[in-house]
Amino acid sequence: MEISPTTSNAKVSNHIPDDLVNSILYKLPIKSLKHFECVCKSWSHLIIDSYFMTVYRNYLLSKDHSFYDDTSILLHSTKKVKYDLYSLSGERFENKVKLDWPKVPLHPSVRGVKIKHSIHDISKDNVPPSRVGDFSFEILRPISINGTLCLEYPEIPDINDHTKLILWNPTTKEFKVIYLHKSNHLSDVWAHHYQFGYDHVKNDYKMI
């Protein structure tokens, strides 16, 4: 639509400029944002841009956002051998949804190997991995930073003798595996003393 000079038939352009489009995108839930990445190239570049994401996240956490009152609880059930994770939402947290753990691929050398899964000082029965990703995870404290959890992979004999920690976002299902080389000086007792945090200044996650 073009701007017409005659006042009696005046039309106005309905093209929304980019800064207004951004203001609209900031107000979408993450699920919508992700699936609108395929609208066009500039949107897909914008949505993954870290500055856009920072503003989006700040807006999401502010009380002006309509989702501010929608909190949900994550329930980590550690009673059985295989741990389960649930999300509880709703006014009385009556909606219980089981979440799937991330499907982290195994190193080929450890597939089919029987592993011993020890949590703190209690050791569980040997759990043979039946397929890729069929593991239970420990969640490191603090539980969730900006929607990302830090998971500890059970002790698996790895040819490089690394401990695996996984940064996982249950909403977008993205995960990143971090390998920490086990120092020869540390005993197993120290294996659970990692701390996970977020650095505001550098806008990045930190592991201590």
Binding site: N14, H15, S23, H35, E37, V39, K41, S44, T172
Partner: protein, 154 residues
């Protein structure tokens, strides 16, 4: 918005002229909510008629009513009355007139209307051409398969 009839300045009336020639007489304190108009008044104090070239009379009327009535309840009901075209034109009007409250309200309303829709619908709304190659689009759709669950058919 309480009318302060006791003060002489707030009972001063101003005329706003929309792009299609429609005239609106508004009180000064209402007109001042539009920062663009405020800037106009600051520049030329004696002005009585202010041209608003980007906004149709139909939308200017809605904007003025919004300013007079706005509160939480009104906002919640406000956006339900308008179709997508009107919402967009109102957003452009609010942006041009620099009324931040109305802009926020309209952005939220548009976001709510598109959040569960398909990318095709969104392209139509914003008049965007799909410049992804079919392979790129297939890859994105596959990667974000979880995000496409529950999308409205439209």
């Amino acid at each position: 918005m309480a009318e302060e009839k006791s003060q002489a300045s707030s009972s001063k009336m101003l005329t706003l002229k929309a792009s299609d020639g429609v005239l609106f007489e508004v009180e000064l304190n209402i007109a001042k909510e539009m920062k663009t108009v405020q800037a106009y008044i600051d520049d030329c104090e004696d002005i009585e008629t202010i041209p608003i070239p980007n906004v149709l009379g139909k939308h200017l009327a809605i904007v003025i009513e919004y300013i007079k009535k706005t509160n939480e309840e009104y906002d919640a009901e406000f956006e339900k009355q308008w179709n997508m075209d009107d919402l967009q034109l109102l957003l452009l009007a609010a942006n041009y007139l620099n009324i931040s409250g109305l802009q926020e309200c309209l952005c939220k309303a548009i976001a709510k209307r598109i959040e569960n829709k398909s990318p095709e619908y969104v392209r139509k709304v914003f008049n965007i051409e799909n410049d992804h190659s079919p392979e790129e689009e297939a890859k994105l759709r596959k990667e974000y398969k979880w995000a496409f669950e529950g999308v409205d058919k439209d």
